[in-house]
């Protein structure tokens, strides 16, 4: 049996782990609440912008996909996978699952990979999967600036985003979206009146405004995926921390029992030693 002082030391360490996991659990919970609110606001913003965009009689699929001018150029890679992973660990196996699902569709000869998040980049390196660009996950507590990512993906014809979707605090799933189609899916096509340049003033021009709106909608679609991913990461971290905390509590319970057993056994041993020495003394006294 281990000594009580050693068990006490271990218990103190586990108590620290329990406290820390408790703090991480609370932080993850706050993060979930914050990001959920932002995701709702962003979705509403998108709906309003779409309402205006769709009224100016432009097919977003044609315009956005024709932007690159790469269609038909067979020598160039025209498909890109954008992986949105976590910036740090402590979030369970969610990033590994993300890469495993992406690998099923991945063909090195036809597809480039752009990765967001240090954790995902490290996972790709470990698996020997090359990526052409790496970005840190934009800060989701404030404004999400995805401009560099949008600039990187614009030359491609097909942009598939892999991200982690928050279903509930207990469930997070891996999803992939075609960024162009998702722009259309995100909109609930309402009855809109058609706007043309004969009945509306456009400054500077209809094309410039449509261009600006398309970039904004692409940015919003990507931001939505990052928000969802951040939400799923926070939820996954919350779950991992909740499990760690539960284990720490179980361990502490075990240590508590072991500590008291060890204490009792130590006092029993001392008592036995006293009794033996008393017996020895008595025996040596009788011999005199």
């Amino acid at each position: 049996m281990r000594r009580a002082s050693l068990i006490e030391k271990d218990s103190q360490e586990i108590t620290t782990v329990q406290d820390l996991t408790g703090v991480f659990e609370s932080l993850a919970s706050i993060q979930v609440a914050k990001v959920k609110n932002k995701a709702t606001l962003s979705q509403e913003f998108f709906q309003l912008l779409w309402q205006r965009y769709s009224s100016i009689r432009i097919d977003p699929r044609t315009r956005i996909t024709n932007r690159s001018g790469l269609a038909g150029d067979k020598d160039k890679i025209t498909r890109v996978f954008v992986l949105i992973s976590g910036e740090a660990g402590l979030s369970g196996d969610i990033d590994q699952r993300l890469i495993e699902i992406m690998q099923k569709d991945y063909d090195r000869a036809t597809t480039d990979i752009i990765v967001l998040g240090t954790h995902g980049a490290n996972q790709l390196k470990e698996r020997g999967i090359p990526f052409i660009r790496f970005f840190q996950v934009p800060e989701s507590d404030r404004y999400i600036d995805v401009t560099p990512v949008i600039e990187a993906v614009l030359p491609y014809d097909k942009i598939v985003v892999y991200y982690e979707e928050y279903v509930s605090l207990g469930v997070q799933v891996i999803k992939s979206i075609d960024l162009i189609s998702s722009i259309q899916n995100m909109s609930q096509d309402a009855n809109v009146d058609i706007i043309t340049d004969t009945n509306t003033i456009f400054e500077p021009s209809l094309d410039d405004i449509a261009d600006q709106m398309e970039i904004t909608m692409m940015t919003l679609a990507l931001s939505q995926a990052i928000l969802e991913s951040s939400l799923a990461q926070a939820a996954s971290r919350f779950n991992a921390m909740a499990v760690a905390k539960k284990r720490a509590i179980l361990l502490l319970g075990g240590f508590f029992l072991e500590f008291h057993r060890s204490k009792r056994s130590e006092s029993d041993r001392r008592l036995r030693e006293v009794m033996i020495s008393l017996k020895k003394k008595r025996r040596s006294g009788g011999n005199r």
Binding site: L41, F45, I144, T200, I201, F202, P204, I209
Partner: protein, 88 residues
Amino acid sequence: MATPIKSIDQLYVIARGPFKIYYEGYAVAVTALNRVGPFDILPGHADFFSILSPCEVFIEARDEPVSFVISNGIATVRDDVVMLFVNM
């Protein structure tokens, strides 16, 4: 989101960023800046789409004027409903 009730002498203004609502409600005028220069939107303004330049936007609301700084944006006016998509 509720559909605004039209008013003859007022604009209904929605000013939003992706994660922020700057203003939503009735107003009598909106002032902003585009490439041509500063402009005002008053009730009865023609339908209008414009890319906004960095500026301070002023909304003359009935109770209290509202102002905020923008780095970019799009303004749209349709049937006295003004939508400002800003800081995107």
